[in-house]
Structures are given as structure tokens and as C-alpha cells.
């Protein structure tokens, strides 16, 4: 069809590569998204404390990770973390291997990148909340920690969920850059396959479709979450 040749797809080895690639992409995306959300919440909580040096620190973190290319961050993480010389002996092979695998470096750098964006999102969610809601919580005896987790975070999460969806889809797509530091995710195996078969266009079309499906599942799930968490007066809850 259209002169495209997909006969290589019948090869179980290539099927296995694609499957492994998808699984690793999902692992990387899930791990870094979860950590990014956690960083986002903790960072936003840190900002509510209004401690001068902590504000400055969080601000610096956000600026650095938001304003530099994630690919560069990943390369940076890979080369600095692996050159720290942290090595362990793999008990099964007896070989000395770096403590932090390429996967770990990619996960760390994507978590930090996503975390910086998530801090911004949660922060703006908290800032758009009427001041009197916080005063009400204080006057009811809620301390800082309880106030954040019981009141500010639940409300801010609903406010910033659309922004968070954007961040997570972005992060998902950015996982493909981990192929550059040899993380065996989908994009990495795609390269392997077309180097083998020279069917570059066919492989790219297939991988594109896989990304479309995976990201669509993510945005669909986020839309459902948004509908589920909606409450009257905010966002979709009108």
C-alpha cells in the first residue's frame, strides 16, 4: 500500500523490540510523571511557607529546569552522574557497571524537568484561590501542613489540572529524547529497527501512531480525572 513495506513487522525480533520499547517508554513516563507531581506539590508547599532562602532556592530550580532544553538536561545528568564514578559490581555478571543506569539518569532528569513545570502550575493554582479561604482555614485551626494537604492542594489541583495535563503530555513526548543516552525506549528501538531494515519511513509512521495512541490515552484519562474531580463553581464543574 502506497509503496510502504511492512513485511519486517512479521519478524518476532522486531515485534519484541517494539514491545520492549513501549514498555520502557511507559515505565519512564510513569515514573518521571509521578515524581514530577510530587516535586510540584512539595515545591508549591515550600513556597507557601514564605521562607526567604527556600523561596529563592525553589525559584532558582524552576528557572534552571524550565528555561533549558530537556535534552541538554538529560545529557548533563547522564555525563555528570555517570562520571561521578559511582559504580557497583553486577552480582550476576561480575562486571563493574555504573550505579546509575542510563534509564535512571533519564528518569531523574525528566522528573526534575517535569517537577519544575509542575511547581509553576500548582503555584498558580494556589495563587488564584481567594485569600479568605486560607484565612477561613487558619481561623478553623488548620496548621500549615494540614491546610496545604486538606484545602490548598485539593483546590489548586482542580484549578491547575488542565495545565498539568499539558505538562504530562509534554513529559511523555520528551521521554523519546532518552534514546540519545541509549535508554532502550520506543524511539531507541525505532532507530535500531530502521538501521537494520532501512525502512525509515515505515518505522517512523508506525512509531508516530504508537505515540498518538499512547498520548491520547493519557489525555483521555486526564479528562476523565478532571470530570471526576470537578466541583461546582470551579472549572468544568459549572
Amino acid at each position: 500500500m502506497f509503496g510502504l513495506d511492512y513485511s519486517w513487522l512479521a519478524d518476532p525480533a522486531y515485534q519484541q523490540w517494539l514491545l520492549t520499547g513501549v514498555i520502557n517508554t511507559l515505565k519512564l513516563a510513569t515514573l518521571s510523571s509521578s515524581v514530577a507531581i510530587l516535586i510540584g506539590m512539595l515545591g508549591a508547599f515550600g513556597l507557601t511557607l514564605r521562607i526567604f532562602w527556600l523561596d529563592a532556592l525553589i525559584e532558582l530550580f524552576v528557572e534552571v529546569f524550565r528555561n533549558t532544553p530537556p535534552l541538554l538536561q538529560m545529557l548533563f545528568a547522564y555525563f555528570t552522574l555517570s562520571s561521578l564514578g559511582l559504580r557497583v559490581t553486577d552480582p550476576s555478571t561480575g562486571l563493574s557497571v555504573p550505579l546509575l543506569s542510563a534509564f535512571a539518569c533519564a528518569a531523574i532528569s525528566l522528573s526534575l524537568f517535569g517537577g519544575a513545570l509542575a511547581i509553576e502550575a500548582f503555584r498558580s493554582g494556589i495563587e488564584t484561590m481567594p485569600r479568605s479561604i486560607i484565612d477561613a482555614a487558619r481561623s478553623l485551626g488548620y496548621g500549615r501542613w494540614a491546610r496545604f494537604w486538606r484545602i490548598e492542594a485539593p483546590i489548586a489541583t482542580r484549578i491547575c489540572l488542565p495545565a498539568l495535563t499539558n505538562i504530562l503530555t509534554n513529559l511523555f513526548k520528551t521521554t523519546s529524547q532518552a534514546s540519545v543516552i541509549t535508554v532502550p525506549e520506543l524511539m531507541y528501538y525505532a532507530g535500531q529497527i530502521y538501521n537494520d531494515t532501512f525502512r525509515t519511513l515505515e518505522v517512523m509512521i508506525l512509531v508516530l501512531l504508537i505515540y498518538v495512541v499512547l498520548v491520547s490515552i493519557l489525555t483521555f484519562a486526564m479528562a476523565r480525572l478532571e470530570a471526576f474531580m470537578a466541583f461546582p463553581g470551579y472549572g468544568r464543574g459549572h
Binding site: 479568605s132 479561604i133 477561613a136 481561623s139 478553623l140 485551626g141 496548621g143 466541583f231
Partner: protein, 248 residues
């Protein structure tokens, strides 16, 4: 008045925001069971007085006591917890937590902050909703309630903390005129039951009807303080006279 017997005692309280002095020496006493109204022009420091009483903002100078709590000496939120139990506050608007239903709004703090038993708190909360005539709205979210209904839920929520005092900060100022009446009715009931109340209000007729004493504030000072009949009919200070001339 005997200041030792007073439930609430403020002595020469001063507060500035940056270089701007907002409270310039506020002294007042409130007896148990008394309803005191604070009236005065916008920006004269009325809200700030209430916020100093329940420790939402620290005072710069002076003495604030509520019951056994010396508020001006409290530094951390933890120290304030017992005070927050004793003093409840209702704000002008956006009081309620929008992600929780009316009933949950009332139940949250007694369970989460005071650690009371859930079943007992729910019973209390339903009684309070009934008291403010909103039993049928238990499962509505704040966004589904009118402004007046929200304020009545906020009053029920304050009462659920079983406070000795409630501070009301212009709770009807942002409401449609039709719903003001219901909110004032609910407050009037509390005053008649003997709950100690401090009310910042623009409703002069209401202030005259319910309060035992009215304080007039201007530029961070209590200019005049008297029983309502006296303050409204025979204001002594020219600033009080001017203000009443504008609003009455």
C-alpha cells in the same frame, strides 16, 4: 467596666502594615454573652481588629486576651490551636471550601483539627444546618448555593467548633439584599441565645437592634463606644456624627 471579668480584652493595640499605621492604640473589653458592633468608615481598621483578636495577624504592640489565652504572646500556629477552638470567625465572602459539600464544610475542622468523633460531629453538623434552615442543602457544594446560603453554612461551620466567641466581618456586605435578611436572622438568634459576638457591620438598624454596645472606629482608633441608643441618637464625637450623617 471590669476588665478582669471581660472575656475579651484589648489594651492599646497597635499595628502597622509597612509604614502605614492601621491600629493606633485600640482598647476594648467584651463581656461574656455580650454582642458588640463595630462600625466605621472603610479602611478604618475594623477587620484588622478582628484579625488581631483571633491571632490571624500578630500585633506590633499592646495586649490581647481572650479567656485565658494571651494572644499577643502567641508565636506559632500550634500555640493558637486552643484559641482557634474558642474563637470562630465568619468572613465577608468566599468562606467555604469549594471542594466540599455544605455538610462536609461543617464537619471538617471538628474532625480534622479537634479530633472529635465523626458520628457525633455529623449529628452536630446536621442540627446546625437545621438551625440555619438549610437542612435540604447538606449535600450541595458551595458553588450551588446563593451568597446568603453560603454565609449561613459558614455560620453553622463556625458554631460546629463550639466557640465561646464568634467574630463576624461584614458578613452581609457582599450579598444580594434579599438574602441579607436570612443571614441577619441567624445571627440575631445566636445573640439572643447569649453567644458572645463581635460584629463588624454596615447594617445600622441591625446594629441598633441586636447589640448591647457599638464602637465607632476612625483612622485606627475607637473614637466612641456606647450603647446603641446613645451612640446613634446622641453621638458625642463630631466624627461619629459626620459618619452617621452619611450612612443613616
Amino acid at each position: 467596666m471590669n476588665r478582669i471579668d471581660a472575656l475579651i480584652e484589648l489594651d492599646n493595640v497597635r499595628k502597622s502594615f509597612g509604614d502605614v499605621p492601621v491600629l493606633k492604640g485600640i482598647s476594648m473589653f467584651v463581656q461574656k454573652g455580650e454582642a458588640v458592633c463595630i462600625i466605621g468608615p472603610s479602611g478604618s481598621g475594623k477587620s484588622t481588629i478582628l484579625r488581631c483578636i483571633n491571632g490571624l495577624i500578630p500585633v506590633d504592640k499592646g495586649f490581647v486576651r481572650v479567656g485565658a489565652h494571651r494572644v499577643h504572646e502567641m508565636k506559632s500556629e500550634r500555640q493558637m490551636r486552643a484559641l482557634r477552638h474558642q474563637v470562630a470567625m465568619v468572613f465577608q465572602q468566599y468562606n467555604l471550601f469549594p471542594h466540599r459539600t455544605a455538610l462536609e464544610n461543617i464537619m471538617m475542622a471538628p474532625i480534622q483539627v479537634l479530633g472529635h468523633d465523626r458520628a457525633e460531629v455529623e449529628e452536630r453538623a446536621r442540627k446546625l444546618l437545621k438551625k440555619v434552615r438549610l437542612s435540604e442543602k447538606a449535600d450541595s457544594y458551595p458553588g450551588q448555593l446563593s451568597g446568603g446560603q453560603q454565609q449561613r453554612v459558614a455560620i453553622a461551620r463556625a458554631l460546629a467548633m463550639q466557640p465561646d466567641v464568634i467574630l463576624f466581618d461584614e458578613v452581609t456586605a457582599a450579598l444580594d439584599p434579599e438574602t441579607v435578611k436570612d443571614v441577619l436572622f441567624a445571627i440575631r438568634e445566636l445573640v439572643e441565645e447569649g453567644l458572645t459576638c463581635i460584629l463588624v457591620t454596615h447594617e445600622m438598624k441591625f446594629a441598633r437592634d441586636v447589640s448591647q454596645r457599638v464602637c465607632f472606629t476612625d483612622h485606627g482608633l475607637i473614637v466612641e463606644s456606647a450603647p446603641p441608643a446613645e451612640l446613634f441618637d446622641n453621638p458625642r464625637d463630631p466624627r461619629t456624627r459626620e459618619f452617621l450623617g452619611q450612612v443613616l
